[in-house]
Amino acid sequence: MQDQISSLRSIIEDEVGAANDLAALEAVRVATLGKKGSVSGLMKGLGGMSPDERKTMGPLLNALKGEVATLIAARKAVLEDAALDARLKTERLDITLPVLDHPSGSVHPISQVMDEIAEIFAGLGFDVAEGPDLESDFHNFTALNIPPEHPARQDHDTFYLAPDANGDRKVLRTHTSPVQIRTMMSKEPPIRIIAPGRTYRSDSDATHTPMFHQVEGLVIDKDTHLGHLKGTLEAFLKAFFEVDAVTLRLRPSYFPFTEPSMEVDVQCSFDGGMVKIGDGNDWLEILGSGMVNTKVLEACDLDPTVYQGFAFGCGIDRLAMLKYGMNDLRAFFDADLNWLRHYGFRALDLPTIAGGLSR
C-alpha cells in the first residue's frame, strides 16, 4: 500500500509537471483530487480498513492529498504568471506619445501685483478700498485742493465725459486719490486703506498709456507723522521687491493734496538693462506722497486740528515692470497670448506672506 502511494505520488508529480496550461492542470486536479479521482479513491478505501491499518494509512493518505494540492497550486501559480506575461506582451502602448495638457491659463501681471500689494498691506493693517472710474470733478480735483485754475490740472491730461444737463461733466479719474476723499467722507478715523485701480490720462508712449493702474495709500488718525510714512514705504518696498534692505531718497515736492509733500526715489542699479532694486548708484523715482493737506481734511469734514495722516500714490504697472522686467507698458493691454503666457502667472501662484510674494 505504501509502495502504491509513493508510485502514485510520482505519477501525479509527472502529470502536474506535464500540464502546460490551466485546462490540463484542472484535468489533473479532477483526476486526482476530484470525487472520482485516484487520491480520493484511496481515501475512500480508508473506511474498509481495520483501526490499526487506518492509523497507519490515514496520515499517509492525508499527507499525499496535501502534497498533491500544494503541487497543483504551485503549478497553477506558474501557469497563471506565464499566461499574464503572455497577455501583457500583447498590451503594450507607446507611452512616449504626447498627452493632452490639462488646461492652464494665466493671471495678468497687474492682477498678480495687486494681490501682492494687498497681501503686504494686509500685514500692516490696511483695508482695500475702491471707487468709481467715472468721477465727479469734486472728488478728482476740487476736494483734493486742485481748484479749476490750478496749474496741476494741466499736468493731468484729463479725459472728460460730455457735460450733463446741468453742465457738469464727469472725468475719467486721473489718479486713485479720489478714493481718499470717498473713504474720509464715509468712514471715521482711524483709517488705513490702500486703493488700487484703473486710472486714465491722455498720454501714449512706451511708458504711458491712456489707461494705467495706481495704488493709493491713506492713513488718518491723530498722531501719524512723516516718520511713519517713511517707515511704511520702506516696509512695503522691501517686501515687494523681496530684498533685505532698501535705501530711500526723499525729495521735497509738491502735490496739492499733501503738505509737506515728497517724492520717493529708491536706490537701484541698471546693469545690463535690468533694474536691480536695493543697491547701486542710481535712483529711481517710484512714488509721490506726503501728509494729507489740511484743506483736503476740511473738504471731507474732518477737523484738521484733531486728525492728520499721510497719503501716497504709486503706479502699479510701473512696479510690475520693475519687478518682472517688462519694458513696454503698451504690451500690458494688448492681450497678446505670447506675452500673457510669458509674463502671466499660474492660477495657483497666489502670493502669500508665508509662501513668498513672487513665483
Binding site: P103, G105, S106, V107, H108, A118, F121, L124, G125, F126, D127, V128, P132, D133, L134, E149, P151, A152, Q154, F159, Y160, L161, A162, R169, K170, L172, P190, R192, R198, S202, S204, P210, M211, D223, T224, H225, L226, G227, H228, L229, K230, G231, T232, E234, L250, R251, P252, S253, Y254, E259, M291, N293, T294, A335, D336, L337, L340, A347, L348, L350
Partner: protein, 798 residues
C-alpha cells in the same frame, strides 16, 4: 527751468562743486532733470597756431598747413579760405570727436598729401552757425591751452523741475536764495539801480475794471524811454539766453526775457511809435480780435484782461503781447511795462487760447507783488545801458500790494507732523534764512516774505524747515499695530474678483486687461454708446466711449491673436463695464471668450468652440465667485449680441441675471470684423448674493449608510422643449430620495420620431430609514415618469 552754473554764481558766492550743488538742489525740492556741459564735447580741442600755409600741389582750393600746438608740429590739409600763416586756431587731432560733423578724426591723405588733424569752424564745434571759415582766435590766445579753458566754456547748464508752488525759483536769483538758505554759500545782494526819469511820459495808463474784475490787474507801472537803438544784444546776453535754449531776438526783447529768467519778473516793451493814444487795462469784449507776437490771431471770449490802446487790444495781460506794437530794429521809443496780473485769470486766458508763455507760466503761479518797482528800475537801467536813450518818470495805475501775511507756528509740529525732533531755535534759524521773520513766543508768529505766496499754513512752514534740514534726516518709524482682523483686508466683492480670476486661469483661459473705453459705433452693438458715456476728448476715435461690455475688446484681441497664428484662443478679463455715468452704473464683470478650433490632437478630434464651452466657463466663474450654482436657473433669453438660438442666461429667480453666455451673433461678428466661431460669457459679479452667516463652520455632514441605487430612464420629448424642464421635473418627483439626475445620452435621428429628442437620464436614489424594496423603487419610478410627462410631455422610450 534752465540756468548755467556761471549764471547762478552771479548771485551765489560758493565754493561748492557742481556735484554738491546738484545733490543740494534735489534735497531741497528743486529736482534736477538734466545737466549738460558744452565743455564735455570741446574737451579735446586745443589752441594752436598756423606756422605756414602753402597751396596744395593738386587742388586749387586746399592748403597744406604746418600747425603747432606748442609741443609738436603737424601737417594739416585745410580748405578754409581764411587758413593762413600766423593765425590762432582751434585744433582737433586724430581720435578727437567733432560734434558738429558727427565724425571722429583720423589720419588721412587728402589728394595725396598727409593730413593729421583739423582746424575747426564754429559750426563744426556747435558754437554757432558760421562755417565760411575756421575759427580765428585773437592773436594773444596762448598756444597749447585747452580751448575749454581759453574760452571759459566749462559752464554746465542745469535743468531743474519747478513744482507749481515754487514761483520764487522761476528766476535764477530765487534758486540762489534757496541754495544759500540750505547752507551752500552766500547770497549776493541784488543791486537795484535808481533811474531818475527826466521827463513825463506822453503815454499814460489807466485801469478800467469793475469791482467783479478788479483783481485781474491791480497795478501797472510804465516808463517811456526815447531815443533807443535796438540792434542785436551784446554777446554775453546772447550767450546767456542761448545757454538756456532761448533765441536772442533784439536787445529790447532780450532784456525782458533775461529779467524774466534772471529775477522771475515778466515785463513787456511796446514800440511807443506804434501805440495809438494811451494804454488802458480792461476786460476784453467778446469777439474782439488781435494778432499776438506769435503771429497768430486770437478772438477774445470776454474773460481776458487785456492791455489796449485806442486802436484795440495790444496784449493779453500776463500772457502775450501784440504784434502790431512789437519792437523791431527801427524802434526808437519804447514803453516798458511792469504789471501785476491775477494768477487765476492768467491761467484761464492761457488755457482758453492754448498759449504757454514764460510770462503766463510765472503769473499763474503768482509773482512777487512787491518786486514790481525794483523790476521796473532794473529793466530801465538795462535798456539805458544797452540801447541808450532817455527815460521818463514812471507813470502808473493801481496801487502797491499790501503784503502782511503771517502764519502761526508751534515748533512742536516739526516733530508731531514732520517726525523730526528739532529744537525750536533751529527751526527758527531755517525760517529766517529763507527770508521769514519770526516773532513772539511758541506759538510764534511767522511773517511770510512776499516772494513766497505759496506759504499759507503751519504745514507749509514744517515743510520749509524739513526741506532745508534735509528730508533724509526724517527717521523711519513703524506704524503701530492695530486690531485689524485677518482676512478682512479685501471686501467680499474683491475676494470674488480674485477667486474668479484664478478659477478662469485654471480652466485654461488667459487673463487680459483691456481699455475701459472703446469705439462708440461698436459699443452700440453691445447695448451701450449712450450720450452720457461718450468721452469728449478721446485719445483716438477708436476709444471714444466707455465700454458696455468687455466682450468686444476680447473679440478684437482674439482676432489679433488669430491673425498672429494662434488657434483656440481663450481670454478672460475681470473689470468694469459702464451702464451709465453714475457710481452704480459701473459694474464689475468677469467676461470670457473662446474662439476658433481646438488644436488637432491624436487623443481627440479637433472641435470648434461651442455655446456649451461658454456655459461651462460661466458656471465655473459663478461657482468660484460663491454663487449658489445649484439654485441657478437656465433661461434661453440672453442679449442681442448673442446667437438667438445658441445662447442663454443664468439666473437666480426670473429677474436676477447672474450671467449671459452664448455663441456670438453672426451680425455682431461681422460688424466687429472678426472670424467665427466665437463664444463668450459675461458674469455680473455684483449681482451674486452675499454669503449668509459669518460662521466658518459648515453644517454637519449626513451620509446614508444604506446602499444607494441608480436607475436609468430614456425619455422621448419634443425637441423644442428645454431639457432643463425635464431634469427639474425628474428631480422634483421625489425630493426625499432623488439626490442626483445625470443626463448621459441625448439623441435625435434614426429610431426617434421627427421633431423629438431622446434624453436618457440616470437617477441616483438614496434610501432614508431602510433599504429600498423593489416595490419602493417601482413607486418612485412611476412618479418620475408621471412628472416627466406632466412637465414636458415626455414619454418613456419603448
Amino acid at each position: 527751468m534752465k540756468f548755467s552754473l556761471n549764471w547762478l554764481k552771479d548771485y551765489l558766492e560758493t565754493e561748492a562743486s557742481l556735484e554738491e550743488i546738484l545733490v543740494k538742489l534735489n534735497a531741497i525740492g528743486l529736482e534736477v532733470d538734466s545737466v549738460t556741459n558744452p565743455a564735455d564735447a570741446l574737451a579735446p580741442f586745443t589752441v594752436a597756431e598756423v606756422l605756414s600755409a602753402e597751396k596744395h600741389p593738386d587742388a586749387d582750393k586746399l592748403k597744406v598747413c604746418r600747425v603747432s600746438d606748442g609741443s609738436e608740429e603737424m601737417q594739416i590739409v585745410c580748405g578754409a579760405p581764411n587758413a593762413r600763416a600766423g593765425i590762432k586756431v582751434v585744433l582737433g587731432r586724430p581720435g578727437d570727436y567733432v560734434p558738429g560733423l558727427d565724425v571722429t578724426l583720423k589720419k588721412a591723405k587728402i589728394r595725396g598729401v598727409a593730413s593729421n588733424g583739423m582746424m575747426c569752424s564754429a559750426k563744426e564745434l556747435e558754437l554757432g552757425d558760421d562755417h565760411d571759415g575756421i575759427i580765428e582766435l585773437p592773436a594773444d590766445a596762448p598756444v597749447g591751452l585747452s580751448y575749454v579753458e581759453y574760452a571759459g566754456a566749462d559752464n554746465p547748464v542745469i535743468d531743474i523741475e519747478i513744482t507749481p508752488n515754487r514761483q520764487d525759483c522761476l528766476g535764477v536769483y530765487g534758486i540762489a536764495r534757496d541754495l544759500a538758505a540750505a547752507g551752500l554759500g552766500t547770497l549776493k545782494a541784488l543791486n537795484v539801480p535808481k533811474v531818475d526819469g527826466s521827463f513825463d511820459s506822453d503815454v499814460l495808463v489807466s485801469i478800467d475794471l469793475d469791482d467783479d474784475h478788479a483783481s485781474a490787474c491791480t497795478q501797472f507801472l510804465g516808463r517811456k524811454v526815447t531815443g533807443v537803438k535796438n540792434g542785436p544784444s551784446p554777446q554775453w546776453l546772447q550767450d546767456r539766453l542761448k545757454e538756456i535754449g532761448q533765441r536772442p531776438i533784439s536787445a529790447l526783447v532780450d532784456i525782458t526775457n533775461y529779467i524774466t529768467h534772471d529775477l522771475g519778473r515778466p515785463l513787456h516793451v511796446y514800440d511807443a511809435g506804434k501805440l495809438t493814444g494811451n494804454l488802458l487795462v480792461r476786460m476784453a469784449d467778446e469777439g474782439e480780435t488781435f494778432t499776438a507776437l506769435d503771429d497768430k490771431n486770437y478772438t477774445a471770449t470776454g474773460e481776458e484782461c487785456v492791455i489796449a490802446d485806442d486802436a484795440g487790444i495790444q496784449g493779453f495781460g500776463g500772457v502775450i503781447g501784440g504784434l502790431e506794437t512789437a519792437c523791431d530794429e527801427a524802434t526808437t521809443d519804447v514803453v516798458l511795462e511792469a504789471a501785476l496780473f491775477d494768477p487765476v485769470r492768467t491761467a484761464f486766458t492761457g488755457r482758453d487760447h492754448g498759449l504757454i508763455t514764460d510770462a503766463r507760466y510765472r503769473f499763474e503761479r503768482g509773482v512777487d507783488p512787491l518786486f514790481i518797482r525794483d523790476g521796473m528800475e532794473i529793466a530801465s537801467q538795462m535798456i539805458l545801458d544797452l540801447c541808450g536813450g532817455e527815460a521818463s518818470r514812471v507813470f502808473e495805475a493801481g496801487a502797491d500790494t499790501v503784503w502782511d501775511r503771517t502764519v502761526p507756528f508751534r515748533s512742536e509740529r516739526v516733530m508731531t507732523l514732520g517726525g523730526v525732533d528739532l529744537a525750536a531755535s533751529e527751526s527758527i534759524a531755517i525760517l529766517e534764512k529763507l527770508g521769514f521773520t519770526v516773532e513772539g513766543d511758541d506759538p510764534y508768529t511767522v511773517s511770510v516774505p512776499s516772494w513766497r505766496c505759496d506759504i499759507v499754513g503751519e504745514p507749509d512752514l514744517v515743510e520749509e524747515i524739513l526741506r532745508i534740514h534735509g528730508y533724509d534726516n526724517i527717521p523711519s518709524v513703524a506704524l503701530p499695530a492695530t486690531n485689524h482682523k485677518a482676512g478682512t483686508t479685501l471686501s467680499p466683492r474683491q475676494k470674488r474678483a480674485r477667486t474668479t480670476k484664478r478659477r478662469l486661469a485654471s480652466v485654461g483661459m488667459h487673463e487680459a486687461v483691456t481699455w475701459s473705453f472703446m469705439k462708440r459705433e461698436q459699443a452700440l452693438l453691445f447695448g451701450g454708446g449712450g450720450d452720457d458715456l461718450v468721452v469728449s476728448n478721446p485719445i483716438s476715435s477708436e476709444l471714444d466711449c466707455m465700454r458696455p461690455s468687455i466682450l468686444p475688446n476680447l473679440m478684437q484681441a482674439a482676432q489679433r491673436n488669430k491673425d498672429r497664428g494662434a488657434n483656440g484662443v481663450a481670454l478672460f478679463e475681470v473689470g468694469p463695464v459702464y451702464l451709465d455715468d453714475t457710481e452704480k452704473g459701473q459694474l464689475l464683470v468677469a467676461a470670457g471668450l473662446r474662439a476658433g478650433v481646438s488644436e488637432r490632437h491624436w487623443q481627440r478630434p479637433s472641435a470648434a468652440v461651442s455655446v456649451f464651452d461658454a456655459k461651462r466657463d460661466a458656471l465655473a466663474a459663478l461657482e468660484a465667485a460663491g454663487a449658489p450654482v445649484g439654485n441657478v436657473q437656465v433661461f434661453t433669453e440672453s442679449a442681442d449680441h448673442y446667437h438667438p438660438g445658441r445662447s442663454g442666461s443664468l439666473r437666480l429667480g426670473p429677474k436676477n441675471i447672474l450671467a449671459v453666455f452664448g455663441e456670438l451673433h453672426p451680425k455682431t461678428l461681422k460688424a466687429m470684423d472678426v472670424d467665427a466661431p466665437m463664444v463668450g460669457f459675461e458674469v455680473y459679479l455684483d449681482r451674486i448674493p452675499a454669503k449668509r452667516g459669518k460662521s466658518a463652520a459648515k453644517s454637519a455632514l449626513f451620509v446614508s449608510k444604506l446602499q444607494s441605487v441608480e436607475r436609468d430612464f430614456a425619455f422621448l420629448m419634443d425637441a423644442d422643449k428645454p431639457a432643463a424642464n425635464l431634469i427639474r421635473a425628474v428631480k422634483g418627483a421625489d425630493k426625499d430620495h432623488i439626490v442626483g439626475v445625470n443626463v448621459f445620452d441625448v439623441y435625435a435621428g434614426k429610431g426617434v420620431p421627427e421633431g423629438q429628442t431622446s434624453i436618457a437620464v440616470s437617477v441616483s436614489l438614496e434610501p432614508k430609514g431602510e433599504t429600498f424594496s423593489d416595490k419602493d423603487i417601482e413607486a418612485i419610478s412611476t412618479r418620475i415618469i408621471a412628472a416627466a410627462e406632466k412637465a414636458v410631455g415626455a414619454v418613456l422610450r419603448a
